[in-house]
Symmetry: D2
């Protein structure tokens, strides 16, 4: 399904090498000033070009297709469009029938009876996250100004020391390989009580969106998987005052599915980019044999790098949807 | 929100110490034989009584309130009800105003203006998972028979050796403490192509439900967080044949948000039970001071134990919703 | 689908002769006092027993299965249950295979492969409107107190004079026949701006619910079908002041899909009760012949009579869902 | 809300004088051939230019923004865009603050705090129905080919004789006035059993969409409001054979909320165009007085004329959503 949200409602469309990527957002309050500049920062963070990211360049300036009048939101659906420019589909032509391992090619072909757009992954492409990041910018505009977002690469290739990240990227690049990473997003200032028990728990909603981001394979809140290795006496967060302040924040800001007034802490694990420069032995549907595949195109060495902006956007969208 | 699903649609209600817990399921095909015995196995797995689980005993026999005629589903909404029997609310009376750390008491009180039912956690109680497990039984009935579910405690208190689990429980019990755990669910036989790109990815839907389960703080698929520490050349799953069989299954059966024909592998991290027998220093809203709290009532030492049945049910519900 | 609503969310279950009829309502604010007495008035209006309505008697006292604590709503899902008591299924046994004209028997049988509960119409029965009326009572509790509901039989058997209604009922009864009717519901005090342009227009939402009520075949707002026979110069409602007061109310209180500050006026056309005492020539699936059918059971002569309470409930539910 | 549908899911955006009107459709099966020509017929029926319709001319050729590859649908969201060309916003400038009676101006201004786009009605404009008609074309493509649509103006200005329609339009035009009308849509070939009992009844879904169409004030199925004036013995549709064929079709093809195998018959009442050439006395927010207003711009004399294509599209969309 291409839609998400009950209050901040987004609908997504587009392909990697189609005419455009777009998102319609319903539920945006009227009177919010929006200009292309507002999007520049987050889009640049997601943008290709940094070491370890693909050399594909898109202008990535949103066009306001609807919902804006005199630079202010109108309360009607806001449609944001990113035309696709720097498209080199021929890079992908060679792989037709020779499905890239750990890409969606094979399942997309099966699911859509071979009618899916194969160019650059089509609708399954990470290119669509440009629209998510744009929606995240709008989400942050309508969240209380008191909310603070801090997002970082917590791990790259198993290393938690940012000073070593460049070296890790260089090594992987030199070896024609890719690396995974963990993105951590912290949001301060969320009032107590956002979210619902059970199916719209804050964790359910945030995780739902994060697992919609290509390459995310794990999501955890607070201590997360480490909590499973703790005792209750260690993990419990004693309450210190009437405001609900806790001495520790092993819960990551969510208890019973609701925000508890502490910092929201969420981490997303990104798998290593499946497109690597090395040849890979994999099944060729055309020849019916397992054969070496060289994946062309331009790709990130570590998708988590641009994933950081996407994770922050996803968290912002979920919060904008659950805000009270 | 108390509802989930687009095709297999569930709506939940109930409280720990209220009259009943129930679930209405819409979208159940007609003609499926259902009897209380069909539920006995999974409900027993969730049931209290095993070492390390609470001593609360409920009959946990579902009553068919609607949607069944002559022992067969009718195609109309199926309503399953579990009356609450073994209720000892007085155990909880003492804690009024003295919120239990890492429980929902404090945020529920804030969110619902003090009108929430505080007895045993009210609507936030793990008691409601009895209805999820029941819905999971129905879900498994309508999934193709070729699907196989295998669910286990993959870790308890940081230990992955099942032979040591009893010891871990005994130690924690002796120390008035609790332990966390990791539940792993594997589902074989899912055809290729279940799920949708982006917001209804198989991972999004499964994770959405798993994070609705009380005490779950992390969810991962396939290699999950370990994938973030791998190289692409290690993590990629080479395709071996036209059926999409892969040499490894680091993806855990999901690529591009869709099932890829391999075994679905999902793990959920459960935090240690927040209710522990030891006194805890925490804020008492009545006295306005941080004071020792003794949590009464009957509680699990390791919620992951009964969590296994709930995780399996959640996965089954998500699959029944996404089945094609 | 058995669910409706985005903010005031209801889920319905039950059959005419099953164990119970019930509704779970999510989105009810906490702290609202509710007792069985609050439901007595509207349920009595819907209740059987009036001239022209079936002689089936149900106690129709709601049981609070969840969401109420100390007589106040908790903010958790509110579940209301009506056990079925006065059931005489044998009345319906004779018609098995001999489908009643203009009833759902035939299509239900086809749609649900013969597994539908045939007793008294099963899930398709007007009996389920008891739950809608109950949900309407809750809806009215959470709407602003300034809203006023006035609902009446505007027409019976083509006659708009209430003084003649009893005579019409007597005549139809004497002839073993039934009559249709029109119910009009007027709601005063709705603030300007409820509803959304296009798919959640106030009219769309109200009509959606009204057409879910068995026997409703037409819905109109304000001048409705009469508007189609008017000139713009007659139909337009000139605005008189800054509050949006209009000189006339041909719009029935809705412009552009949104409430305009005037009285909401909606009418629902009920077909005559399909169950009549006269023999009807219709196809008998058992014999394969068109044969006279005598419909047993107890039935309303004019369903619009009890329909009035249901229409008011449906309007209240839609308003509670759209309230701002 | 700008979205509708569970299986054939549409999301709408745009304004009368904004950059474009668009619709994203999710749930379109892959492999369907689509070209601009496929849309020409229905768009022309909706198009301005016929006697009695506005003189605004738009090319109304859909641009495929996403979801199409090599002229075939891909299974990914299909985005259709209609750039706005022939815009004369200055026609509307004069009316700022002087709200047009029976238009959405006043309520939109209130609801959106004055930030709504006022040009040509903004998001409330009938211009958006171009996207509905386009979605209807796609809907008809995916419905079984055996379905037949026949849509006509059943009444204009209270007259049911099509030979007199031109005269009625000429008279109204000459008098600077407008007329209402009734559109009837008949769909043959719908299999038995589409729709759901209660909230997704075929009637609920169709009416929901029809009441989203600007100017629609009434919807009825089969005998509709006339049914309320009939006896059961007249109105009942006797079943004639095992296929469910009925001797009459007073039900209009829907019983118990489900299609009954007979022709679907639905009628929508359109109010007269609120924009008329005559001066109207109405409140001027700028001067604070009731003053004569001359509505500029180009308008339909009878919106039902282009409404016919929109009604057919709405019915097709609802059917595509409910198809089995």
């Amino acid at each position: 399904m291409n839609r998400f949200g009950e209050h901040f409602r987004i609908a997504l469309w587009g392909e990697s090498h189609g005419p455009q990527v777009g998102v319609a957002i319903d539920g945006v309050p009227p009177g919010i000033a929006l200009s292309a500049e507002d999007f520049a920062g987050d889009l640049a963070r997601r943008q290709a070009g940094a070491p370890g990211t693909t050399s594909r360049r898109e202008a990535d300036v949103p066009q306001f297709a609807a919902g804006l009048y005199n630079g202010l939101t109108t309360g009607a659906p806001l449609a944001l469009v990113f035309p696709n420019g720097d498209v080199r589909s021929q890079d992908y032509a060679a792989t037709a029938g020779h499905d890239r391992p750990s890409h969606a090619d094979r399942v997309a072909q099966e699911r859509f009876g071979g009618f899916n757009d194969p160019r650059g992954g089509g609708h399954f492409s990470g290119r669509l996250t440009v629209a998510l990041v744009a929606a995240g910018v709008v989400a942050k505009k309508i969240l209380p100004e008191t909310l603070t977002f801090a997002t970082r690469i917590a791990e790259m290739g198993g290393c938690a020391d940012p000073l070593r990240f460049d070296e890790i990227l260089r090594e992987a690049t030199a070896e024609g390989d890719s690396v995974g990473g963990v993105v951590e997003c912290r949001v301060g200032g969320i009032p107590m009580g956002w979210g619902e028990p059970f199916f719209d728990s804050l964790e359910s909603r945030v995780a739902h969106l994060l697992f919609a981001v290509p390459a995310v394979k794990g999501v955890e809140f607070g201590s997360g998987f480490a909590a499973a290795r703790m005792r209750g006496s260690q993990h419990n967060d004693p309450i210190l005052d009437a405001a609900g302040t806790t001495a520790s924040n092993h819960a990551g800001g969510v208890v019973g599915g609701l925000s508890d007034g502490n910092e929201l802490v969420v981490r997303a694990a990104f798998k290593p980019t499946p497109s690597i420069a090395r040849p890979q032995m994999t099944f060729n549907r055309t020849t019916g044999r397992v054969e070496p595949l060289i994946v062309g195109g331009r790709h990130d060495v570590c998708v988590a790098l641009r994933g950081a902006a996407v994770v922050e956007a996803a968290v912002a969208i979920a919060l904008a949807d659950l805000r009270r």
